[in-house]
Every structure is written in C-alpha cells, then in structure tokens.
Symmetry: D2
Subunit: 147 residues, 4 copies
C-alpha cells in the first residue's frame, strides 16, 4: 500500500514540492492530522504550483475568473503525526476546456506516501456561470501537464 | 445537476437528518463554505447516526477499536453561503468485514442538493493493525444499511 | 477556579444559551478542544444572540456596516473533551459609540465553567473606516446589556 | 495604532521570525484571516522558538509534562488579506515557576504590525495536575527572556 518513489526524479518544471510541518492545530484526538485538513494542504500545493508557473491565483481571480472546487477525492494510506515534516508534491493531471485537475501526494521523510488527493476545479465567471478557461491560462496549464 | 428529493420519504430508522447553520468560521473569501470544511459535517452526520443506532463513537473507541478514514470523495454541486441553514442527511451505504462506507448529502431549505460525500472507514486495533469490525457493531450497521 | 452558577437564573431576554457537542474536528492530540477553536463558539453565540434580538448579523452587513473583531481575551479554566456536550452562554457586556463587547462562558453538564471569553467588535464602513454604531442597532444592544 | 519596528534589530537569539502566506483555508467571507485562526500562528511561533532553543515541544511532552494554554489575549490592529505574506515574530515575555508567557506579533511586508497576541501556558503532569516547570526547561526559558 505504501508506494515509494524517487521524489528527486520528478521534473521540477511540472510539479512543486512543499515542506509542511504538523502542529497541534491540525491534529485530532487520535494524534494524527484530521482527515478534513488535507484539503488545505492541496490548496497550498496548487496555489504555489500556479505561482511557480507565473500565474497567481489571486491575479486570476482579479481578472474576473473564479476556480471553485467541483470534486475532491482523497486516499489516506498512512496517518501523518504531530510534529512530523512531510513533503506535499502537486501536479496538473488533466486540463479540459472548462476544468482542470490537480493531484497532490504527501510523502514522509523516507519518501513513503501517506496521502493522495485529486481536486477538480471548474471555471466560472464572477456571477457563477460556467465558462471556458481563458486561453492564456489554459495553454500554460497544458504546457505543464504531468505526463 | 441539482437533484431534488423528498427528504421526508427517507426512512427515519436508516438515516439521520441534521440541521446546520453556516457561520463566518466556515466561510472563505468567496463567501461560501471552504471546500475542506464539509469533512467535519460528514463526521458530525455519521457520529450522530451511530449514536441514534445505539453506538457511540466514543464507546466504540473506548472498547479498543478505531475507525480511521481511508477514503473520502466529495462532489460540490452548488456552494453553501454564509448564514444559510442546510440539512445534512447521512446513511450507511456499504458494510464489509473490515470497512464501512457512510454517505452524506447536504440539502438546502428547498430540498436542492448542494454537496454529497462518501467516507470509507477501516477498522483497526489501537496499535493500528487492520481487524474485522466486531460482530455486534457489524450486525447493527448491516441492519441499518440504506437500500 | 471552577465557578458554578445557576444557568437557569440568567434572564432569557439578555443572554442566549447554545448547546454544543464536540466532534473530532475540534479536538487536538491532547484529546481536548484546540485552544483556537473557541473563537468560533463565541462567534456562534453572539450571532445567535443578535438574531434572537431581531438583528441578523448578515442583515447588519448587508446594510453597509461591518463589525470586525478588535480584541479577544480567552481564559481556559478546564479543558473540554471529545464528545462532551457543553452550553455556550453569551451576553452583551458593554456598548459604546463605536464598539461593543460580547462575553461568552462555556459550562459543562454540571454547570461548571470551562472557558470564558470576551470579544470586542468595532464598527466600520465597507471601506474599513471607523464609524458609529447605527442608532437602531445601538439602542437594541443597550436595551439588552447584561447588568 | 500601527506600530512600526525594525524587525532586524530584534536579537535573533531571543526570538524567532517565521514567514507565513495566507491561503483560502484561513480566510473568511470578509476576505481576511478569520479571527480565530491566529491562535495556530502563535502556536507555530512558540513551537519553532522552542525548537530553536533546543527544546522540541514533542520531546517535552514525551518527557511527561504538558503545557496547556491557560490564557490568550489577541489584539487585531489591521486585518491580514488573502495571499499576503506576513512575518510572525515570537518572544518569551515571562517565566514563572509554573507558567510561561509567549508573545507573538504579526508584521506585514512594510514592517507594520497587524496583530499581536500573548499566550500563557501552564505546566501540568500527564494526569492534569499543576506542577513546576522542570529546572532544565525553566533555565533555558529564562536565559532567553526578551528584555
């Protein structure tokens, strides 16, 4: 169940690796990260991946486009403990005309996977109407798709 | 996309309906409930469903069994706004020897679905080893499976 | 340290009592409610107190006034455990021209105090400029001041 | 109200400066960090300050001592916005036989203070009984008191 990968083999241009330390705030009474808190890790991952690609989430929104989450799937392989430091790796795994899927994987210090999640974002106008992802953004996303 | 159902037609013995009001704490800068916060709603739903069936989550844990989350899938049909009051309906949708799946649906005041989620729990010992769901609990869960 | 009061003696017209159950989501690895999570309980308390007095927080904001928090003081007398049900009692303790102070106290099932907090709200315009609390709201708040 | 200080003048041996970026998860519908979320920033600050001084919070707990929060005071001078990057500076401001007070200040990129908080921790045994801070820890804390 515990997949082991060579994190360093992932091309730096198509993913982002973010270190994350677990504090009390994220744990629950089992002593592990609460299962709902990973969503914020995935958000952190895709936000920084976009920034790395030259597209700030905030700028995208300021330009009139919102990217609400439509779907999230999370698999919890092994829990993450208090005070642990993990690596959150985030890729773009699919780009369609009106939606994009990001994938995040959480690895521990021994490169063993702990959690993985996919998050699908839709593209809507400020008024909430579905719309196509603007060309400039779409091209950038496609160019950086994880193979 | 927005499924409409007669909430009252759901047999009260196999599900639980919980009202929930949205406060500032759960919203994000879009003015809606943050996508990661629904996990706590689903937890609230299954905890109260179990309590209704005579099984307190806390008692189950005190008896030496833990039920960690293995998998969560969430679909966000329509956002839930600040100050809205919604109904969280929770069922048991699958019971296997070592795992159980709960399903939760969030409906607004007009019985339009906003969000749905499935959460799969595994059964492990205090030491974290996979184990069968104890017979007494398993029978109770199966007896209350949503058809 | 543990203050004991007769909750029922509090005049219903000047306070609100809200029941609250603790789920996994709010606990931390000590098995208790995380110290930062009480802020959302206090918010819940003052929001429902205002609603009871005929003033929805949302309506106040829709009318062009925001009430951001300027100050919060919390005292943690005794921890609140997982699965416990507590009562959150909220009063208005001070009303000035440009600010209002709410006080919340958390009691357990035996009427022993666990936590108390005061939250001071300022009154600002949508643009963030300090302004007086509108007369209609101010009068209502003063009329319901806890002695 | 907005205090301006030369962050670089703070002696590195008695404080810790941590950068923090604001994501969606921490914001509320005003578009700012929710007032309850600063508690986790203060926790992050004091945890890393202790680590810098050679005392891991986790190791302290593993040695049989817990440091629950007894008191928190927060002042919100100016809100912190989505996507902003701030600096959280944390000091030790008081050490007594059975308690220690940490102080955290949040500064923006222009060294303007946004939020400040003091958090008082008590020292208790695993069973929850008040006890003296162990000598080794107490001396370390006192040696690093902010003047």
């Amino acid at each position: 169940m515990a997949e082991k990968i060579d994190i360093k083999s992932i091309g730096p241009e198509i993913s982002i690796i973010m270190p994350h330390r677990v504090y009390y705030a994220e744990t629950d009474r089992m002593g592990y990260v609460y299962y709902g808190n990973y969503a914020s890790w995935f958000e952190k991952g895709r936000t920084e991946l976009l920034r790395k690609l030259g597209m700030s989430y905030k700028e995208i929104e300021d330009s009139g486009i919102l990217l609400p989450v439509r779907c999230m799937n999370v698999r919890y392989f092994l829990p993450v403990k208090y005070d642990e430091e993990v690596s959150i790796i985030t890729y773009i795994s699919l780009v369609k005309r009106m939606r994009v899927i990001f994938e995040s994987k959480v690895y521990d210090q021994k490169d063993v996977i702990r959690t993985s999640g996919t998050v699908e974002l839709a593209c809507v106008t400020k008024e909430g109407r579905p719309t196509s992802i603007p060309d400039k953004i779409s091209e950038m996303l496609k160019k950086n798709l994880s193979a």
